[in-house]
Amino acid sequence: MNHRKTKGFAILTSFVVVSLTTCQAQNPVTLKVASESLVRYPTLQPQTAISVYLADPLPVADLVEKAIGADPHHPLWDCTKPSSYRVAVLAKQSGGSPKPVRYETIMYVALQGNDDVTGKRLTFCEPRHPGMVQLIIDSNLSNTETVQVSLVGLPDGLTAQSDGKLAFTQTGFSLSVVPQAAPSEKLTNGMSRDVGQLSLSLADSSLFPRSSLPLDVYAKSKALFSTDEKDSQSSFSETVGIRRGIIPKWYTPVHFEETIQGNQSATSLSNVATLGFTTLLPWSWSGKVFRNPIFDAPLPPDATVNNQYTYRIKQNTAPTLKALATNDYSLTLSFSWASIRFPWACTLFDWIHIRSQNTSTQSNSSYCLGAELNGGSYYLPLDLTAAKTQRLEGYGDVSILLPLSSLTSFSKFFPFLGSGDPAKSQIRIKYADCVNAANNYARSKQWTYGIELMK
């Protein structure tokens, strides 16, 4: 063999081997990913995101450190660009493993964390900061599809991809069906009797999740059907509404709703247009007034204000009820004030030796007896009372709450009730004075006793 040829062959062979070694892809590192259903404020529009973890598990943290390189401001792999990721939608093939059927468009990459210097959202990645990025996608995934995320453009033959098992579940839809017994329920003919009731609630918090509208469109349906059609509490309401926040940094969603409501037999039927808002009351001032050993209310009441125009299509003409204006206006205020505690009760329970010594979180250590208040009013300026004054209907309920974990006897026999959050298992004694707007403001009063167990 010619010596020069042999040497040339050897050099060529070495070059090929070196090239192959350099270009050979390393085993892919498995990315940890998760799906997120976010709601953007103030538009209240839902948004689908994929969380990609860049600092966990450790092989990913190592890979990302190498991929960024020595200068995070001039990275070898740029974590901020949508083109640095690929989201493949996989579908099950008959008799085979899932295969990519399309690629999702990544609208933008949201880095999770702020810049130490500017205090604003990060615009570059350093090793382990941020620990996670969210890929915002315009998703229309079906139940049979899963997603696989890959990092694209990594240097030095590095590869990383998720296991392809990420699935998305549609959220925002809820259904509740609750049968209940109501002893001595008041009827619209003035009588009372024991009745059975079925409470139904159906809601879709976003009817058009992929729309470009700067607000959310929703629908909800609520009904209470009774075994006696004259039950003063029987009602139904079908609502379509729009909502969005108005104050960017304070949760204040404004809503406009159109509702058809009535009683079970539709002898009362009305169309209600509502404009209102819900908010939390500012509460930082309250510490000195509402936080003491007698009365402890660390959380503010939720408040809702509604302006309602009601067109009454039909009214219940029962003799016990006075007819209301056909075209009516009402201003309704309502509030819900939960998490009220009475710290003195713990001292009392200790003194009479009925308090359990179970450990609880410090934030709940003073919770031995609590209360919950809900209330509101309907101001009806166009409806006059018998005394010719403008009508005002108030309503409300008060609940006394006794956490089972605070009682020795319960903790002894049902230890699982005594552990964890005391608010998860409690005795509720409730008195309610209600008016039913769907049934010409029929009034009823009711005591309820029960044990609540929440998972």
Binding site: E36, S37, L38, V39, Y41, A49, S51, Y53, A55, D56, L58, P59, A61, D62, E65, A110, L111, Q112, G113, N114, D116, G119, K120, R121, L122, E126, P127, R128, H129, P130, G131, M132, T171, K249, W250, Y251, T278, T279, L280, W283, S284, S286, G287, F290, R291, D296, P298, L299, P300, D302, S336, A338, S339, T361, Q362, S363, N364, G420, D421, A423
Partner: protein, 177 residues
């Protein structure tokens, strides 16, 4: 390199925890909690209503700059777990300890460092120069309530145990207490 990127990352985790505590300002009882108690508090116990949870999500978007979903508040039951989801404390503690270890570890991979014996990363045990320096650095970065004397003593015991890996030490410190 005490003032490394990894030191800032670890300091930032606790700064973020404090920001999450401030984000719960609508509950006036939260500001009374020390940082460790707050970290282990069940989120929904201090933010029970939808309005309070939504306000917290808005606040957290501003600082520390996290996009939190409503589901996150129940999926990650405590604030510690929630923050770990966005910035995993064990990785940060491990990366910081790696900068304080001997030999090739500071320039090596985190995977190898976590697998290594504690005695090889911090020779001389809890009284050795390397661990004394590392422990001192940790106490300067982690608030005292989260790295108490008791936890420091437990960590020192792990450093003295030749059968333990760095992973054990890191997980012990990242438990906080």
């Amino acid at each position: 390199m005490p003032d490394s990127l990894d030191k800032r990352n670890l300091e930032r985790w606790f700064a973020n925890l404090l920001e999450l505590q401030n984000d719960c300002s609508m509950n006036t009882s939260v500001k009374d909690l020390d940082l460790l108690t707050f970290a282990n508090t069940t989120i929904t116990s201090v933010l029970p209503s939808t309005n309070e949870q939504q306000q917290f999500i808005i606040n957290a978007k501003g600082a520390p700059g996290f996009d939190i979903s409503t589901a996150d508040l129940t999926t990650f039951s405590t604030f510690d777990a929630l923050l770990d989801n966005f910035s995993p404390l064990p990785s940060l503690v491990g990366a910081f300890l790696r900068t304080l270890a001997v030999g090739p570890f500071p320039t090596g991979s985190l995977v190898d460092f976590f697998k290594a014996a504690v005695s090889s990363a911090f020779p001389g045990g809890s009284t050795g120069t390397q661990w004394t320096k590392a422990s001192s650095q940790l106490t300067s970065v982690i608030p005292a309530v989260c790295f108490s004397g008791k936890l420091q003593a437990a960590a020192a015991k792990t450093v003295d145990d030749s059968t333990k890996a760095v992973r054990d030490l890191v997980n012990q410190i990242a438990e906080l207490g």
